[in-house]
């Protein structure tokens, strides 16, 4: 079963995503900030990390930078939930590989499709925003 880790400070988001993705057959773990997420990843790397940007203690951006720096070999894909569409606000992500943005509001259907596509490795459609 593919493991998905979700980091978001909004409990409702965590609840809906967890429920929806579990129904699709994924193993879902949730945490409320970057710190928690990092602790989990260090114990066991997920297959996918979905993270919000604005979170207390450690933001999504800090989490991604940290991962890039200390786990350069990591293979899992990162989805970053963002409310900003401007390119300048995504500048920081240039130096981080295997990272995609998911714009809010997020469609659960769309997310599931992309996850399925990513794991089936038959199509590249999951890369398209």
């Amino acid at each position: 079963m593919k493991k998905i880790l979700i980091a978001d400070d909004e409990p409702h988001v965590l609840r809906v995503l967890k429920m929806s993705l579990e129904k699709e057959g994924y193993e879902v773990a949730v945490c409320a900030n970057g710190m928690e997420a990092l602790a989990r990843i260090e114990k066991q790397a997920p297959d996918i990390l979905i993270t919000d940007i604005q979170m207390p203690l450690m933001t999504g951006e800090e989490l991604c930078r940290h991962i890039e720096e200390y786990m350069p070999e990591r293979s899992f894909l990162i989805f970053v939930l963002t409310s900003r569409t401007e390119i300048e606000h995504r500048e920081w992500s240039r130096s981080i590989h295997n990272l995609l943005f998911l714009e809010k509001p997020v469609s659960i259907r769309n997310l599931v499709d992309r996850l399925d596509g990513y794991f089936s490795e038959t199509t590249d459609s999951w890369k398209v925003m």
């Binding site: 400070d9 909004e10 409702h12 988001v13 809906v16 995503l17 429920m19 929806s20 129904k23 940007i53 604005q54 207390p56 203690l57 939930l81 409310s83 900003r84 606000h89 809010k104 509001p105 997020v106 469609s107 659960i108 259907r109």
Partner: protein, 612 residues
């Protein structure tokens, strides 16, 4: 005639005069000598002859008398005649120098004047003689007189005196050139001065003053005064020129000062760098902006007075020749006093006016864009925040509604949960939008308080209930203490609700779980006071100054955990101020905060009167 030529002439004339005078004095002296000799000799001789007898003096004819002896033995060239006369004046015997006729001379009969001397003129009056006479006796009887005449000496030059004269004149004559030479030496400086004046006058374009040759003595003085006049004229011309130069200089200084004043008062810092790369001008703002002493900048290269590696390349921008194009860059610099500034450097080439191929240097304008930068940064943060704040509830609603449409619709409990969540999020969105609109309106000056008479008791109770109703999740205790009877106040109910609402929401948001949130109101004769207190995280001291600033959010992690956009307190304060009230607070980190609204009753009454 030149001055020195005249001098020479004067010298010669003077010498001749001196010589003539010398000769005259000499001759006069000689004449006096001869006269006195003639007088003495004459008198001695007549005395001698008077002692002789008549016969001896006037012998019989054919015999040689003493007179003949006298004539022959006479060496005095002035001797003229000798005669023996009887008492009647008849000549008894005589000797004369050739060509001399004995003049007539009647000697008085009185014995006192028998012996004497007198000057006697010749018969034709041409010649004068000095005659000495003495009585002659024969046998005790007065017979007559003996008379001896000498030529009265005249001034005359004898050839025998020529060598003496020549010897005398020669040294005098020889001394003249020597004196002349010495004199010339003496007046040489004067001549030089004169030549200089001539030269000066020529240079000044002045005409030489013609001098009358007769005024030889005053020539020099006149010439001198004319030169002085010429010099004065020249000095006047020069003075006028200097005055006009001074005027021009003053004008230039004034213009220079004006330009300097403009540049000094220019809002931005200005640096001019010449072709050699040295700073040729910098206004005082440069030093202030970069934290460098102004005096250290001029005439030096930027790298000599600026150590910031980010600034130096902006001031130099490569070499001058390649800097033909304007360039602009903004950098963040940390100054020596640790303040951080955003500086915008604009570099412009300075062309020679009318010749764009020649560059005089570069003009660097440094503008402090910290404020703008900060404002932009805050706005960016604000937009980022707002979009996050807007999209987060939207995201939750989208997810819940999507899940309701699909799998979750069957689950009754999930459906209730989803609807509740969506309802909450709508409320959250609505509050945010209201706040945003209010603050926007307020900033645009579009908010006019719609004041009405409001019952304070009901208003506070209602507001408190609305806020606390849906926020029981932290297990907070809510306290409301307001007097049963309160005055009517004249306020904009909707605006005031936002203010109180924001204070209450903050108190709840930043409370620790299980804490207490209270609202108390008191009233006295002058004012109404509303206090919202919590037992939450409190506000750190360094943040206290900024809590009313728009968009300000504390960096404290406890605060950051809560969503917020830094608008609530700013808005609350603006609303209270609008009602002529005062919003203050006291807070202690870790213990909680109290926010205090104070409304003056007088001001509300005045407003009341004004409105009605």
């Amino acid at each position: 005639m030149k001055l020195n030529q005249r001098f020479g002439l004067i010298m010669i004339v003077a010498t001749l005069l001196v010589m003539a005078a010398t000769v005259y004095i000499l001759f006069d002296y000689q004449r006096d000598e001869r006269e006195s000799l003639a007088r003495a000799q004459g008198l001695d001789l007549v005395r001698l002859l008077g002692g002789m007898s008549w016969d001896e003096l006037a012998p019989a004819p054919g015999r040689q008398g003493f007179l003949e002896l006298l004539r022959r033995g006479q060496s005095n060239p002035d001797f003229a005649y000798g005669a023996v006369v009887d008492t009647a004046g008849e000549v008894a015997s005589e000797v004369t120098r050739s060509g001399v006729i004995i003049p007539a001379n009647k000697i008085a009969d009185e014995p006192a004047s028998w012996l004497g001397q007198q000057v006697v003129a010749s018969r034709n009056g041409d010649t004068r003689f000095i005659e000495s006479h003495a009585p002659v006796f024969a046998d005790g009887i007065h017979r007559g007189f003996v008379r001896l005449g000498y030529f009265e000496p005249r001034l005359q030059l004898s050839l025998s005196q020529m060598p003496f004269m020549a010897t005398l004149m020669l040294p005098i004559f020889l001394l003249v050139p020597l004196f002349y030479f010495l004199l010339r030496q003496e007046i040489k400086p004067l001549r030089r001065i004169s030549e200089r004046f001539d030269h000066l006058a020529e240079q000044a374009g002045l005409n030489h003053v013609e001098l009358q040759p007769s005024q030889a003595l005053s020539d020099f003085m006149e010439q001198f005064s004319s030169y002085i006049e010429a010099t004065q004229t020249r000095i006047e011309v020069l003075n006028r020129e200097q005055e006009s130069l001074q005027m021009s200089s003053k004008l230039l200084t004034y213009r220079n000062n004006r330009i300097d004043a403009i540049l000094q008062n220019f809002p931005d810092a200005i640096v001019v760098i010449d072709e050699a790369g040295d700073v040729s001008y910098a206004n005082s703002k440069v030093g202030r902006l970069l934290g460098i002493e102004h005096g250290n900048i001029i005439g030096r290269k930027p790298r000599e007075w600026c150590s910031d590696p980010k600034i130096v390349p902006l001031l130099t921008f490569g070499d001058v020749k390649s800097g033909l194009q304007s360039n602009q860059d903004t950098v963040q610099v940390r100054l020596e006093d640790h303040s951080e500034k955003s500086l915008q450097f604009s570099v412009y080439p300075l062309f020679v006016p009318g010749d764009e191929s020649r560059i005089l240097g570069r003009l660097v304008v440094i503008r402090d864009v910290s404020e703008t930068h900060l404002m932009r940064q805050r706005q960016n943060e604000f937009v980022s925040h707002v979009s996050h704040e807007l999209k987060t509830p939207l995201n939750v609603m989208a997810m819940y509604s999507e899940s309701l449409l699909t799998e979750g619709a069957d689950d009754e409990q999930y459906r209730i949960e989803a609807v509740n969540v969506i309802h909450d999020e709508v409320e959250r969105l609505s509050t945010l939008i209201n706040n945003l609109l209010a603050i926007n309106q307020y900033e645009l000056g579009g908010v006019v308080a719609q004041r009405k008479h409001v019952r304070m008791h009901e208003f506070l109770e209602d507001t408190f209930a609305n806020v606390t109703r849906s926020r029981a999740e932290k297990g907070l205790a809510f306290d409301l203490e307001i007097p049963r009877e309160m005055s009517m106040v004249y306020i904009d109910k909707d605006l005031f609700r936002i203010a109180v609402n924001n204070l209450l929401t903050n108190a709840i948001k930043y409370s620790k779980p299980g804490g207490r949130v209270s609202m108390t109101a008191t009233e006295d004769d002058e004012s109404i006071e509303i206090v919202v207190a919590d037992e939450g995280y409190g506000i750190a001291e360094q943040d206290q100054k900024q809590v009313f600033n728009k968009f300000f959010r504390s960096t404290d992690d406890n605060i950051r955990q809560q969503t917020g956009h830094g608008l609530g307190l700013s808005l609350a304060r603006q609303i209270v101020l609008m009602h002529h009230g005062d919003l203050s607070f006291s807070s202690e980190l870790g213990k909680g905060s109290q926010f205090r609204i104070k409304l003056e009753k007088v001001s509300t009454q005045i407003m009341d009167a004004a409105a009605s």
